[in-house]
Structure formats: C-alpha cells, structure tokens
C-alpha cells in the first residue's frame, strides 16, 4: 500500500490492551485482550516487506511472515490466516506462546536497534487466527479419499496434533491415543488458562475430529497397548510417538517429600486440567500456599508463580540460580510476572527445605550464587558462593527445574533406540531405529517449544507419507496387485 518506508518506520509498535495487573492477579481470564482490527492493520503497516526475510529464517517452521502481514494491511484477515496455516496449523496458539523475541521477532530488521520495536508478528498471528475462529470463517478442508493406510499417534500435544492433521488430509486413517481424559498435552495441562484459553485448543481438536481423526482418551500406550500390538493386533501401518517429556525432576536435597512441595507439573495439572481453581465445584483439591517459593526461571516457573498468585498466595517469589538476563522464560511472561508483583530472588538456590513435625514445609535454607565461566550453552555458569547461606521464609515450594523423558513407552518397547538421557533417537525426519515408528517433540529434543514440536510433527508426517507410499509402490510392483 502506498506508504513509504519512512512512513512505515514512523509508526510505533502497537501495544496490546490487557487486564490491569491488580485485576488480573485475582482471576484466570486471559491477560492480553488482543488487537482490534484497526490496531492490527496499523501494526501490519510497520512491516517493510524486506527482500532479505530475516524474520522468516527466525521462525522454526518458516511462516511466510511478510506475505501474511501484507494481507493484514489490506484487511484480508482470513486470507492472512490461511497463508500462515500453510506452515503452522495452530497460529492462535503460537501467536500466544512462541518465544517471539528469540525467534521471528528477534530477527526482524525493525528490532535491530531497539528490540521492543520489532514488528509484532506474534500479536498479528494471534489476531488473524482469532478473527477467523471467532467469526466462524475457518475453512473446512474436504475430507479426502482414504488411501487405505492406518496411522496411530501417541499423545495429543502439539506434535501429535500436527501429525494427525497433516496425515488425515493426505487420506490416512488416523487414531490418536491420549493418556489423559482431555487432549492438547501441555497446552491443556501445563500452560494456564490466563495465557492460553482452553477453548482455543478445544476448537482445534474439534476441527481434527471433524476431518475424521479418531481420539481415544484415557489410553496409556505401553500399558493398554504395547507398540507391537498397535501394529499386529490393531493393524496400524505406522506409529508416531509424541508423548512429551513430562517426568518431573526433584532436587536432591533434604525435605523434597514434605507436604507443600510440588512439582510444577502436579501444581499446574491440578489447577489447569483438573480446574481446582474452581474447587469445590471441580473436586480436585489444591493446597493454597501463603508464601510460595518457585524454583526455576523458565516458562514453567512463571506459569507456576502466576498461578499461585491467582490462587491467593500473599507473596510469591521466583528463586533462581542464575541472573535475570539468563532466564529462559519468554520476555512477556517475565514482564507480566513482575507487573503482578511476583518477586525475584536471583542467584540463589535452596540446599534444604525445612519441615515441621507433621511433615509440612516451614522454610528453606538457601545458598547465594555468582556467575562464573561460560558453559557449553555460552551462558555463564552459576557457582555457589562458599559459606554464604540465608534463610528463606515460605510454606510452599513449587519445583520447576526441568523435566526428563518419561520411560513408559521405551521401557515396554525396548527395540526403540534412546540416548543416555532416555530421549528417543531419530533422524532429521523423525524416523526412529524401528521401521515405521516415528517420533518428535519433547520426547526427542527434551523440553523445547510448541512450535518446534509442531515442526517435528510436520517433518515426521512427510516421512511417514513417503515411507508408506514407497512401501505400497514396492508391494504393488512385487505382487502386481
């Protein structure tokens, strides 16, 4: 549209309206309200439609960013959403949860000088996806003719949903097996409602079902069926394992099993999936801490702390070994947490959790840390300061220092190769050591991001299609069928 680059440059980044901190820290409603169409168009005009599309190379699935933004500038919102969906099937989710500042927006030319001035790609992505969904403009893909092959997908997290969506459109019969009574993986049990409303995930799953994907809930593979049985008894031609990394790590310090010490997984699952923030209408109980310590500095820690505040904690503190700059959490989450009066006790780590005679947490003994030499990741390594301890007053401790590979499947299917940490080993396309078994997402990479799990799903879907078609051509050739 007729704007000059200079005119575009003159437009300030459009901030999204959001619930004020004092209001939102008492409810579970989503924090940002989303752009209005005017704001979206205005934001879209900031994009310079660069020749060298650095933003695109920052996105793990290479969403055609300048193209979809140009469509927004022309108010073609639905078309913009469709363009994104050629690469990313869950834009309403990714627009909300991608760490944009280190991915697409981190590479945007407009953020080179001042990173707060990058084009708000995530906000725009969210806007068009919401616009399309809320106005019921989602295009119903035609259910293609079945090609006769059956694929089982284990786990309904973002990677499993992507595989299912891609393969159903190619004519496969797709069945998802999900351990929980609800689908979405971390999107429903981990990431809280105030960051990602569950109705968005539900509508994505409904859309897959409308295309013919069958979902069996309450189905723990490895126990209900072993992978061998999926092939032999149930006649699947390929299996995709997208079970996530969910196995919590606890610190090896005294007091870890006291009442009031939770893994973030447990705490968040109670609150999100089981809706104990609506207790007693929903019957899963939750222990409400008064002074809550959250161990860790990632998204999981921020989500736990912000949930604790909303459940009624008087004081919530992030206790983290490293410094503020080194926190792996999305910048927006740290910013929101600070606004919500969550405190940060940096460069410190507990060495013991104290309890009373009934086994309840009464406080922690912590040690001060300082930054030392850089480690393999290039971050300065936190090292404990000798003889430098302090007491920390708290009655609840939420442990969110990371996860491990859940061994439920690999134990029951020993012929799938795993690495020394228990993660499944695959080639670039998700092929495991066993023929026609594929895997991707957190169970391959360790805890990562929604978009990378989806990217892995997309690649594996391609590999499954390629391998099964090759197989079918070969058999047709051999048998002259």
């Amino acid at each position: 549209m007729g704007l000059t680059a200079k005119e575009r440059m003159a437009i300030e980044r459009n901030r999204m309206g959001e619930q004020p901190p004092d209001l939102r820290n008492r409810n579970f409603e989503e924090v940002p309200y989303g752009y209005t169409p005017e704001e979206a168009v205005n934001e879209a005009k900031r994009c310079l439609n660069c020749k060298k599309r650095t933003c695109v190379s920052g996105c793990p699935v290479e969403v055609p960013i300048p193209e979809f933004i140009a469509l927004i500038a022309e108010e073609k919102f639905v078309e913009a959403a469709r363009v994104i969906k050629t690469k990313n099937v869950l834009p309403a989710v990714c627009g909300r949860v991608c760490p944009q500042e280190t991915q697409c927006e981190g590479q945007c030319i407009r953020g080179k000088k001042d990173n707060t001035q990058a084009v708000a790609i995530g906000n725009l992505e969210r806007f068009v996806a919401d616009y399309e969904r809320e106005n019921n403009l989602i295009e119903l893909s035609e259910v293609p003719k079945k090609n006769g092959f059956k694929v089982a997908v284990i786990g309904s997290g973002p990677s499993g949903l992507t595989v299912a969506g891609d393969l159903i459109k190619l004519g496969y019969e797709v069945t998802i097996y999900e351990a929980f009574h609800r689908g979405g993986g971390v999107l429903v049990y981990g990431i809280p409602e105030f960051r990602l409303p569950k109705r968005i995930v539900e509508s994505e799953i409904k859309a897959l079902e409308n295309l013919g994907v069958t979902i069996h809930y309450n189905s723990v593979i490895g126990r209900l069926y072993k992978i061998d049985e999926l092939f032999k008894g149930l006649g699947f031609d390929a299996v995709y394992i997208g079970v996530g990394a969910g196995l919590p790590i606890f610190l090896d310090i005294p007091g870890m099993n006291l009442n009031g010490v939770f893994s973030a997984n447990e705490y968040l699952t109670r609150s999100n999936l089981m809706k104990s923030y609506l207790f007693p209408k929903y019957q899963t109980p939750m222990i409400i801490g008064k002074k809550v310590a959250v161990l860790g500095g990632g998204n999981v820690a921020m989500d736990s702390a912000r949930t604790a505040i909303r459940l009624g904690a008087e004081k919530t503190t992030i206790v983290y070994r490293r410094s503020m700059e080194q926190m792996p959490a999305r910048a927006a989450e740290v910013h929101h947490a600070k606004e919500e009066k969550i405190e940060f006790r940096l460069l410190s780590n507990p060495v013991e959790i104290y309890g009373n005679k009934d086994g309840w947490v009464t406080g922690m003994k912590c040690q001060n840390y300082q930054l030392g030499e850089p480690d393999e990741s290039g971050r300065q390594r936190p090292v404990p300061v000798e003889d430098s301890f302090f007491e920390f007053d708290c009655d609840q401790v939420l442990v969110s220092i990371g996860g491990q590979a859940n061994p439920l499947i690999t134990k029951t299917t020993p012929d799938i190769k795993i690495n020394k940490w228990g993660y499944i080993v695959t080639d670039d396309w998700g092929r495991t050591s066993r023929q026609f078994v594929y895997s991707g997402g957190d169970i391959v990479t360790g805890a990562a991001t929604v978009i990378s799990a989806m990217g892995a799903g997309r690649r594996a879907a391609k590999a499954i299609h390629e391998d099964l078609m090759k197989e079918s051509n070969e058999t047709t050739g051999d048998n002259g069928k």
């Binding site: 351990a179 929980f180 009574h181 809930y217 309450n218 189905s219 723990v220 126990r223 209900l224 069926y225 969910g246 196995l247 919590p248 606890f250 870890m256 099993n257 009442n259 009031g260 939770f262 893994s263 997984n265 447990e266 699952t269 109670r270 089981m274 809706k275 207790f279 007693p280 209408k281 929903y282 019957q283 899963t284 109980p285 939750m286 222990i287 009934d358 086994g359 309840w360 859940n406 061994p407 439920l408």
Partner: protein, 287 residues
C-alpha cells in the same frame, strides 16, 4: 463407554462392574485404574479386583471414604463413569515362591483376589488372610476361597477367626512355625505398616500395595512419590507394590493426609474414624 453393568454393596464397600474392554484384555494382577465419576470429579486410583476379558468388564471394590468415592457409590447400573484409565502400575511379580501369604483389609479383601489366583496358577500354596471388624463385613469370600489353599479370618470383635487383625494371624502362623516364602498385603496404610512389621523379624520377603495420593498415574506429576530404601519412587509407575520393609511409613502417612482439610470441607462427615466402622455402627443402631 465405561458403563456400570452391575453394582452391589456390603457395608460401605461397593462392588462396581464396569465395561472397559481394552483394560479387561490388558490388565494383570496387581494393577489399578484411575477413574473419574463425572467430568468435575477428582481422578482417583482403584485396584482392578477381577476382570472378564470376553465380556469386556472389570470389577472394582470401592470403599466410601470421601466425596469421590461417595459419588461413585451413588451411581447406578446403566450410568457411565466419565473416565477409566488403565491398566496402570507394574503387575505383581508372579512365580512359584512356595508358600505365599496374602493379607487383605477393606478394599484389599477384593484386591488380593487376582494376585491369589495368579499365585495359585503358578503352583504356590496360597494362604489368604482377610480382616474386618465384624464377620458380616466380609465380601468376595467364596471367590477367594476357590483360589486359596487356606482362607483365614481376623475380626476385631472375634466374631470370626482370630480376634484381631491380619498381622495377628501372621504372628500366630510364625509362632506355629509356618514357613512363608513371600507375603503380599493390600489395605489401608496403617495395616500395611503393621503387617510389614510382622514379617520383618523373620525377613520374609514382603510386598505391600501402596496407596499414595495420585493424579495422572503415568509418572508425569510426582504426587505419588514415596521413599523406599532411601530413594524417591513414583508409586504409579514404579509400584504400586514395594518392599514393605524399606518403605518410609511416617512420610507416607503424612503425605496421605496432605489434603485432609480440603477433603473435610467437601465431605463434612469425614473423620479419622474408619467409614466402614461408622456405617456399621449406624446399622447396629438401626437394629
């Protein structure tokens, strides 16, 4: 899905037969399921006490102790459970031990049945011991008798068998010089602890089916963690059966009481008194 096809009650223990064909096909002795009565319910673990793979049904014995079990108790034949997930946990290790003693209290009276049956089929001499307050509170006796070489009773009031509890029968057996090669116990935590004490001095290998608080049942949350031999174990995936002589019982007792306050809130009549006993007393008062 998960339709209730049969239901009955003996003093607060509700037998619930549920349609769950996949589980009925895959389940082994010692495993459990996690169930939700309704969409708003808590996820609660319940032992699979019997199954019929051909009919596609599983048998649960649910002891009414709180809000979730109360709501299950009120469901009727024809109603459906919202969720039944399983089979979960590691199956009991079944082999020819020689003489196996199985002790069951409250829901464990039903729960030890498949273990007894499998042990019997593996060629063991099976001695089952069940405890209750009063003789009329036993259930599932006939089935248990069929798979046991001996079925012994313990009642608090002495109305049947030994006056006392399962561990008292174990002590009697040991005094009489009865050889025991392996013991399994299932019931409330207090009973598991006392029975493990009984077998400790003779170093009888003892497995106890722990019932720590659970949430997902797949190893994802750590709610069910227990200390066994000084190590953290997740009861849902590493157990539920553990060496009774290695369990940190004090920790387990306190972890099990973690939600007592909230639970009491929703289930006003909850008390530390055994609910089965309470109901029994009410029945007596009514005559």
């Amino acid at each position: 899905m998960f339709e209730i096809v049969e239901k009955s009650e003996v003093f607060n223990v509700h037998k619930i037969v549920v349609k769950a064909p996949g589980i009925a096909r895959a389940v082994r002795a010692g495993q459990f399921v996690i169930i939700m009565g309704a969409e708003y319910s808590e996820r609660i673990p319940v032992t699979v006490s019997d199954w019929d793979a051909a009919a596609g049904t599983i048998v649960l014995y649910v002891l009414e102790v709180g809000i979730s079990t109360l709501e299950l108790a009120r469901m009727k034949v024809g109603d459906s459970l919202f969720a039944v997930t399983g089979p979960l946990g590691v199956p009991s290790e079944i082999k020819n031990y020689g003489t196996v003693v199985l002790g069951g209290g409250c829901y464990g009276i039903g729960g030890i049945y498949p273990i007894a049956k499998a042990c019997k089929e593996a060629g063991n001499k099976v001695i089952s011991i069940i405890e209750a307050r009063y003789k009329d509170m036993f259930y599932n006796e006939k089935a248990l008798m069929e798979v046991s070489d001996k079925l012994l009773y313990a009642t608090s009031d002495g109305s049947k068998g030994t006056k006392g509890k399962v561990e008292d029968v174990v002590y009697e057996m040991l005094e009489q010089g009865q050889k025991i090669d392996q013991a399994f116990f299932m019931g409330c935590t207090q009973m598991l602890e006392r029975c493990s004490e009984a077998t400790r001095s003779n170093s009888i290998p003892t497995k106890v089916a722990l019932n720590s608080i659970m949430l997902d049942g797949t190893g994802m949350c750590g709610a069910c963690r227990v200390s066994v031999g000084g190590q953290i174990k997740f009861a849902c995936v590493d157990g539920p059966e553990f060496d009774g002589h290695e369990v940190d019982w004090n920790e387990l007792h306190s972890r099990k009481a973690a939600y007592a306050e909230q639970e009491t809130g929703v289930y006003q009549s909850y008390s530390h008194e055994c609910m089965a006993e309470k109901k029994f007393k009410q029945e007596l008062e009514r005559g």
